[in-house]
Symmetry: C3
Subunit: 114 residues, 3 copies
Amino acid sequence: MDYMEGERDLLRIFIGERDKHNGKPLYHGIVDLLRKHHFAGATVLRGIMGFGASSKLHTDRFDVLSLDMPIVVECVESATNIDAVLPELETMVGGGLITRERVRVVLHRPALPT
Amino acid sequence: MDYMEGERDLLRIFIGERDKHNGKPLYHGIVDLLRKHHFAGATVLRGIMGFGASSKLHTDRFDVLSLDMPIVVECVESATNIDAVLPELETMVGGGLITRERVRVVLHRPALPT
Amino acid sequence: MDYMEGERDLLRIFIGERDKHNGKPLYHGIVDLLRKHHFAGATVLRGIMGFGASSKLHTDRFDVLSLDMPIVVECVESATNIDAVLPELETMVGGGLITRERVRVVLHRPALPT
């Protein structure tokens, strides 16, 4: 992994917690894909409520407490590396939203050995 | 709902978990508003610590464990649709921060029927 | 604190939950730093999975359940105020990623007294 500086792309993938890929959670599959492509990192956030292409919100409060909460997978990488994963990512995501925007990397530092 | 492509606006609303609107949590009211306006989706994230216009951080650790954690509501939509909800949104938000930025929609796909 | 309007910088700090600073969690230290500099606010989000400069993902699922989940600290401030904290922030962050991007502040309103 080369350490990053300057302008990079922030990719954000909005899916549902219950979405599956090859029998396991889709967000696990996405993280595996990004690692296979030697991405610098990725963060998976789990929402507490939401609706969209992938997850439906019902008025029944039991439903809100269900396990289909929204998931956001985020990663910061070069445009080239992101272009390289998009075709496979698009085949994996059944329903969802993917956005891309430019960000400036201020600091990217490897963890100190512990 | 029309599926989105190209440039859109990412709206992010930073409020507190205990903020209320018409007797229910403000973030519920915001999600209802976005659904009423046929937004493509929304995600509600709950932080584990924070401070700001809406939520105060005290040094007492019991307070940090309280139920007034920061909430971020995110949605991606056309500038026109976001302009249309902002006036009502501004009357609902007692204290908080709303930001807006341009993002590129790479993929927006409906969920497959299950 | 002056209330913000117009263009501001969104600073996002990606670290690990177990990262420490002066014997306490690094994200606590970062929040304290931002408060000391009178930042308008900050939000700390905790992911459910991730990998990167600071946190490593192993295939062992016990590891995924560990307490070293990814942390994202977010704040929106003037470029001047962010420039002022970056040097100290860079000494605090052992391993991680910091990004910066421009956002437009649509609303910034103090909480009503309760």
